[in-house]
Symmetry: C2
Subunit: 337 residues, 2 copies
DNA sequence: CTGTTAGCGCCTTCAG
DNA sequence: CTGAAGGCGCTAACAG
């Protein structure tokens, strides 16, 4: 292992000078600076992370708590991970992955052992036991998701109420006279997620405003039979409903169950999914969707987190930041009148 | 911050005794042991990870290099991450996430800065510039994927050749007289992944053995038009082909494009996908599939990695370990004769 | 069985 | 502008 002392010896300076060259925390003459930099890359020196963390009290690591295992909704988190990792690297930080099945213990471990400088907490439940713990950690925390009580922590999430409105506004404009929500994530029942509530509140309000019927059908767990049963119930009232599927996992099963039954979205009914644009485009037929914007949400979360890490810069005033979804017309909604 | 010195003071012992109680690396009398443990949980002491790493030269961290961004095949990696994180925690390790877009630099950073004790490298290309680098790192490395030359590194992967055989054997048994492979991942062309080659080798060999025709159709990038074009070409020769889709991303698009064309898998043709059982079951109709077994592959990889980390235990003799896939009949293959 | 001590590699104050 | 020196919190010899 090559240390900063080795670099110092080769450059003919003291070890502290090497340190100052790397941190830039005091001015160095161009000559010695060059000698040090040359030595560094001659020896391919890299600072030891543990030593640096010990001395500086900063790890350059962001802890990321992901809802693996805890929920079935594990599917949509990849773009979050990807974006979070990218933003972290852009600020010279690494990402330490912690699974949610550790619960609050994962948080206290991250902070107590000084494994990271800041924490991103995903899979937030409406009433989440980890939040009071997170709030007392003494480490900046950002929540992706909005709990009932954030205990003063900053949150970022999609504006699910607006998402519900967008979907219903579109269906009203297409001439449907009733709206059926179908295929809520099954976790809504087991766990205490609240984004579906927010979505329903938005869609119900919009339906009322447009004078449309508004009903809700049971969750669609994975498996073809469940999808078929749910679709059956959704179509029971007859007519030409506008169907909304606020669960990216259920969009394809519902869509293809409809087709299998001879009810073709885009002709007989309209179907709008709540899913990423990528998922919507990959489907056959392509699904008209309200986007989940995981990348935007993640970017804003990381932006806030790094503001919180900067002791100088003032913190964002708003505690809750909502990202606006967009609706994109594709093949599963009927043509506009 | 509470340190082991605080614990020592409260317990009335020396600091090193606290350390030895925690590590168990020397015998301690039950009395002092208890006093120390009581002090530890009275103060809710947790050892500082940086200090421990510095002194012990072990970080208790596994570096995980994931193929985010580098490829389009980012979708199937969640179960890998989940399983890898779980196995790591089971051995009291954490996981540091590094994205592949850093290339070999990510590896040298992980090792050079002593950020981790071992590395899991995913998204392996047939000829992968990172492998010679990884082999010289002085840190145990496990590859998930098999390159042309592993440079002495251990690898784990699905047995893709066997996967190809299983699919073709099944189609032969169902009375199809030709096999069409359709929807290879587009990365095969851009990047230099080799698992599709292995799959094709297996399927071609099996087809020869059964006296079946064997042809290959272009990749299916995301988007409905591409899927439609590819299916068109696959059906061009007429008849009642057995279709194999060795790309989990393309399974649903191909399936529904066929249905859209009035060619119903399970009745007019047979379709076998290469995808996880979860994906196969979630589809409507459920897809007969050869499983990718990401959890098994990950578990074996982590098992080998921890063997490599144990200086005592002898290392696995075999450099390449292949996991056997399984075929499960569902709704997209015709009934057996 | 326990305490004392010397680092691990780096950051940062204090001297010059 | 640069060096010397102390200490971050822990592990692991070395003494008893």
């Amino acid at each position: 292992m090559v240390t900063s002392r080795d670099v110092a010896r080769v450059a003919g300076v003291s070890q502290s000078t090497v340190s100052y060259v790397m941190s830039g925390r005091r001015s160095i003459s161009p000559q010695t600076r060059k000698r040090v930099l040359d030595a560094i890359d001659q020896l391919t020196y890299q600072p030891n992370a543990g030593a640096r963390a010990l001395a500086s009290q900063r790890t350059q690591v962001v802890g990321l708590v992901v809802p693996f295992g805890a929920s079935a909704d594990t599917a949509g988190i990849l773009p979050f991970l990807e974006t979070i990792a990218g933003c972290a690297r852009a600020e010279d930080h690494d990402v330490l992955l912690v699974t949610a099945d550790e619960g609050a213990a994962g948080l206290t471990r991250l902070a107590g052992r000084a494994l990271c400088d800041a924490i991103v907490l995903m899979g937030i439940e409406a009433v989440d036991a980890r939040i009071p713990v997170a709030a007392e950690l003494g480490v900046p925390v950002i929540l992706i998701g909005v709990p009932d009580d954030s205990a003063g922590l900053h949150c970022v999430d999609l504006d699910f109420a607006l998402a519900g409105e967008l979907a219903v506004d579109e269906l009203a404009g297409l001439g449907h006279d009733r709206v059926v929500l179908i295929g809520h994530p099954a976790e809504v029942i087991d766990r205490d997620l609240n984004y579906v509530r927010r979505f329903q509140r938005g869609s119900a309000a919009a339906a009322r405003r447009h004078g449309l019927g508004h009903s809700v059908v049971d969750p669609v767990p994975p498996g073809t039979d469940a999808a078929r049963a749910a679709v059956e119930r959704a179509l029971a009232d007859g007519g030409r409903p506008g169907i909304v599927v606020p669960n990216s996992q259920a969009v394809e099963p519902v869509l293809h169950t409809l087709i299998e039954r001879g009810v073709v979205p885009g002709r007989d009914v309209s179907l709008i999914g709540l899913c990423t644009d990528a998922d919507a485009e990959a489907s056959v037929p392509a699904v008209t969707n309200v986007s989940l914007e995981p990348r935007d949400v993640s970017r804003r979360a990381m932006h806030i987190l790094f503001q919180l890490l900067d002791r100088d810069g003032q913190h964002p005033a708003e505690l809750v930041e909502l990202v606006a979804p967009r609706l994109t017309r594709r093949e599963t909604t009927v043509p506009p009148p």
